[in-house]
């Protein structure tokens, strides 16, 4: 059957992103600039265009291509947010990658391929297609983590991420196989129908087992406890620009897929999994925060903090409600902005090679570079959840959703965790303002500075005027479709 023109239009963002990735791959071969500034900008333009055309299709909320992808509110929200966050991280990378002494022209097409995979994950209404998206993304990110070819820890990061990622993929695929065994189809509507029907006991056990294994796979990708063990090493070993990308953008795609499958399609059974999700959420934030307390490396601290934020995000998934999904989507925007900003500042300050990764490198920044210190303070306070910054609004909405869903205790756990997190985020502020400066910290990189400025501005704007993004997240959560089932 010939796909109609309308169907092509509906996957236009995906097609454009794929085509653009190939185009950038070829263009990079002819790039004579060793810093690849032009290639970087080409990537940004491409991502901007993808975001531009990623509107939810009016009538086209129908599933397309034999119902394996849906261009609904969720897809377009996630695509646009993905592109926005990636654009900022690419802008930062333009200066950062040459600064570390790597000729990283391949960085840009790889980022685009990862984005393609993430869009597929968000849009997929078929388990196998979702898996394809996941693997497309993962392969690109495995390579990205090893971009510092000559650095042991970057190689270690790539290998560790690859081995554990492959293992998690196996779990996920097995989960999908079990779901197929029950539903007789990998299409989400069929799976949803099977989940909603009255299954015999052994079948429903199989279904639950399938969902649990699926959750293991997702848990690995988002770094949930106890599948978080790779995060600190990989985040620390990967180039900082890649860490920024991984901790924000990759998480976004994985959570989008999680919402579509676990929260919406498997809603009838995910009620049985509430306790498991609840415990995972509580454990993730607690472990992340407590371990972060002891870190002396800022990059590692942010890695554990990202684990903790995964825990907060899982609150929304635990709710299993539309409000919960909207809160997760909104929190991902706020978290993306503040994390990108923090990594951006880190990249600005870092020198050749390893860079300013220890917290003590920031001593006295308040005096030696007041603007950067102020920006870092804004990021740290936002990550703590101090109003009126983005992180506060994100938490406010998440807590509201959780209270509405009746998870008062989980909110109390999250609140206590926020207090713990204040201790280490505040530690950075303390070092910057209360300690004496050691040496003059020179910040360099025009693109980096602009990227960081955009991210910091977003942190403030999402705190003071979150209305537009809140509406978008709510619409996205309200218009999730599964397919023609």
């Amino acid at each position: 059957m010939m796909p109609q023109l309308g169907a092509i239009q509906n996957v236009a963002p995906l097609l454009l992103a794929t085509g653009w990735a190939l185009f950038v791959l070829i263009a990079e071969m002819f790039s004579v600039d060793r810093r690849h500034v032009g290639i970087g900008w080409l990537t940004i333009v491409g991502l901007g265009t993808v975001a531009w055309i990623a509107e939810p299709a009016g009538s086209g909320t129908d599933p397309i291509f034999a119902s394996v992808v849906a261009q609904d509110g969720l897809t377009s929200y996630v695509t646009q947010l993905l592109c926005a966050l990636t654009m900022v991280s690419v802008l930062m990378a333009i200066d950062y990658i040459p600064k570390t002494g790597v000729q990283g022209g391949e960085h840009y097409p790889l980022v685009l391929f990862a984005v393609v995979g993430l869009i597929v994950m968000a849009a997929a209404t078929d388990l196998i297609v979702m898996f394809l998206g996941l693997e497309t993304m993962s392969m690109a990110v495995y390579v990205l983590a090893g971009l510092w070819k000559r650095e042991m820890r970057s190689n270690e990061a790539a290998l560790k991420y690859f081995l554990l990622g492959a293992f998690a993929s196996g779990f996920m695929l097995y989960g999908m196989a079990l779901l197929y065994a029950v539903a007789g189809s990998t299409l989400l509507p069929d799976v949803a129908a099977a989940a909603a029907s009255d299954l015999p006991a052994e079948q429903s056990t199989l279904l639950l087992l399938g969902v649990a294994l699926l959750l293991v796979g997702f848990g690995f990708k988002v770094g949930a406890v106890p599948f978080h063990l790779w995060t600190p090493d990989v985040y620390e070993g990967a180039p900082t620009s890649v860490t920024a990308f991984m901790s924000t953008v990759v998480k976004l795609g994985a959570f989008a897929a999680m919402i579509r499958t676990v929260t919406v399609a498997l809603a009838p059974v995910s009620g049985d999994l509430t306790l498991a999700l609840w415990l995972t959420s509580a454990a993730t934030m607690t472990v992340g925060n407590i371990v972060a307390l002891k870190q002396t490396s800022l990059k590692r601290m942010l890695a554990y903090s990202s684990v903790a934020h995964t825990g907060y995000l899982l609150i929304g998934v635990t709710c299993g409600s539309e409000q919960g999904a909207a809160a997760v989507l909104f929190y991902l925007a706020t978290y993306g902005a503040m994390n990108l900003a923090a990594f951006g500042i880190m990249m600005l300050i870092s020198r050749q090679g390893s860079g300013a990764e220890r917290i003590s490198d920031y001593a006295g920044l308040g005096q030696s570079n007041p603007m950067l210190a102020l920006a870092m303070t804004i990021c740290m306070l936002s990550l703590t959840g101090i109003p009126p910054l983005a992180g506060f609004m994100g938490k406010l909405y998440l807590f509201s959703a959780a209270l509405e869903a009746g998870h008062e205790i989980l909110v109390v756990v999250a609140v206590l965790n926020s207090v713990i997190s204040a201790a280490y985020y505040l530690g950075v502020v303390r070092v910057m303002y209360l300690d004496a400066p050691r040496e003059n910290v020179a910040a360099s990189g025009g693109h980096l500075a602009i990227g960081t400025l955009i991210a910091v501005a977003a942190v403030i704007a999402l705190g003071l005027m979150p209305g537009a993004v809140l509406d978008a997240a709510r619409n996205a959560a309200a218009s999730i479709v599964l397919g023609s089932g």
């Binding site: 406010l396 209270l403 909110v411 204040a422 209360l434 509406d471």
Partner: protein
């Protein structure tokens, strides 16, 4: 006068931005600019005072627009007699602290002035915010400048003290946030109240929660405010913060920040949870009395003057909390009066201790003695403030304490008996310190070089002494503003006896309003 409150709370922040572009080397310019800028909010608060009608109990100068409509959060400002006086206290203390700054701050003056001005914005915002989320925003923001003030310009253990201060307050305020969200959502879940979430205080008055929900939400708020006050046994951050903070920081901390806790009790806890207050108030009263006696006893044995004043705050704020626990108009009015009185006298005490510390670089009582002859002006000012602090009739401390004791005696006579002993102990530690520092022979040769107060220092202390006397002799303009607002609050807090509250409470309030308005006409 729409927009007056917004202008007032934003003016110090605007001044801070202005200061940020001045080069840090231009200290004289910075000082003068900061001082002039801090007179703007003071002038605006005087305008607020004159625009305020003392005969009306409700909120005045209200500004209300939606902020984040999706979550039901509004930008809602307004003030009543209780917040009005605290606003005045804030706008008065800030210029005095900035005026005194050059004597106390010897490094990074620009950053200090900016922090103080930003702190003023957040304090004023906390006092006039009537949307609970907006209140929370200012409440949390207040921590950051204070954290920096203690952490950068404090004593040897400043970093420890600053972090302890921040984390203690945060432990209290985050559960409060959960409680606030719960209330806002419950409001939205009650279809007869409009069906959408709201965090506006006046909307939440109408909220009906089950007793168990009220219990937990109220407990969360009590925890937040009790840490801020601080009530025994949650006071341990206070001596550290006070001892390490620079003088200006201590003045604002004792003068205004601690009052945010007691203010929170009067503004939020009392009217919002009438059904569970009878459960909590006896406990609060008991802890308050323990705080009064404990604070006084610990203050008595302090060798360090600043630490003595810090522990005296624990004792005095115990009195304020006792007044609030009385739940009647006279007791709560006395508590509010005592908040202002304590702000003035303890602020003055910290400033005076700071002045002697700048000269001698010690605050140990044992290092002094016989200062009366050497620095007579200083000693006289110190005497007035000491007497105000122990509640001598004719000075401000007496009226507040007296009203609290009268009010509490009606409801908790047993507790009052213990509390009165706190008055005696207060006299003991303050007068004993005064005697050891000022009287006797001048034995330490170091002290012979001491100079008396400079004109600038007199300008700093003068306004405080004047107000201490005025509030002691002629309390009427203050009390008439306090009492109408307190009466309305107490009425809400004690409305629990009525069985069908939601329908019965609203007409009651209307009657109350009608009465106050009619008395206004009769005047």
């Amino acid at each position: 006068m729409y927009g007056l409150l917004t202008t007032m709370i934003l003016s110090p922040a605007a001044a801070a931005i202005l200061l940020a572009v001045v080069p840090p080397g231009a200290t004289v310019l910075l000082r003068r600019l900061a001082l002039l800028a801090s007179l703007v909010p003071f002038g605006l608060s005087v305008a607020v005072w004159s625009a305020y009608d003392p005969a009306i109990a409700g909120f005045q100068l209200v500004e209300r627009t939606t902020w984040i409509s999706q979550l039901g959060i509004s930008y809602y400002l307004g003030l009543d007699g209780i917040s009005l006086l605290l606003v005045m206290l804030t706008t008065l203390l800030t210029p005095l602290v900035l005026l005194a700054a050059p004597d106390q701050i010897h490094t990074r003056l620009k950053a200090y002035l900016i922090s103080m001005l930003l702190l003023e914005t957040t304090m004023l915002g906390t006092l006039v915010a009537l949307d609970l989320i907006l209140f929370y925003v200012f409440w949390e923001l207040m921590l950051i400048p204070m954290f920096l003030i203690i952490g950068i310009w404090g004593g040897d253990r400043r970093v420890y003290a600053a972090i302890k201060f921040f984390l203690f307050t945060m432990v209290g305020s985050l559960p409060m946030l959960a409680g606030i969200i719960y209330m806002g959502l419950s409001y939205g879940a009650q279809p007869d109240l409009g069906g959408s979430p709201s965090f506006a205080l006046t909307d939440l008055y109408g909220l009906v929660l089950s007793n168990s929900a009220q219990f937990w939400v109220c407990l969360a708020m009590i925890l937040a405010f009790a840490i801020k006050v601080p009530m025994w046994p949650l006071h341990t951050w206070l001596p550290d913060a006070h001892v390490e903070a620079p003088t200006g920081g201590s003045v604002i901390l004792a003068g205004v920040l601690l009052k945010m806790g007691t203010y929170g009790f009067v503004r939020f806890v009392m009217p919002l949870f009438p059904d569970v207050l009878p459960v909590f108030m006896p406990w609060i009263g008991t802890l308050a009395v323990i705080g009064i006696i404990y604070g006084a006893l610990v203050a008595m044995v302090q060798p360090d003057m600043k630490k003595l004043v810090a522990y005296s705050s624990v004792s005095h704020l115990g009195f304020v909390m006792l007044g609030i626990a009385s739940m009647n108009v006279i007791g709560v009015s006395g508590a509010v009066y005592q908040m202002i009185g304590h702000g003035l006298s303890t602020g003055a005490l910290f400033l005076l201790v700071g002045m002697i510390y700048e000269r001698r670089h010690t605050r140990m009582i044992a290092d002094f003695g016989g200062l009366w002859r050497q620095v007579p002006m200083y000693a006289s000012c110190f005497l007035i403030v000491t007497l105000a602090s122990i509640g001598l009739p004719g000075l401000n401390g007496f009226i507040g304490e007296f009203m609290i004791i009268v009010g509490t005696f009606q409801t908790h006579p047993g507790l009052t008996a213990f509390a009165v002993s706190g008055v005696v102990l207060g006299a003991v530690y303050m007068l004993w310190m005064y005697q050891r520092v000022m009287f006797g022979p001048l034995e330490n040769p170091e002290n012979e070089k001491l100079t008396d107060m400079t004109p600038r220092e007199m300008c700093v202390i003068g306004p405080l002494l004047l107000l201490i006397v005025i509030m002691g002799v002629y309390p009427k303009p203050f009390l008439e503003r306090i009492e109408t607002s307190v009466a309305a609050t107490v009425e809400r807090a004690t409305a629990t006896a009525v069985v069908e509250r939601p329908s019965a409470r609203v007409p009651e309030l209307k009657v109350a309003h009608a009465e106050t308005v009619s008395t206004g006409d009769n005047r």
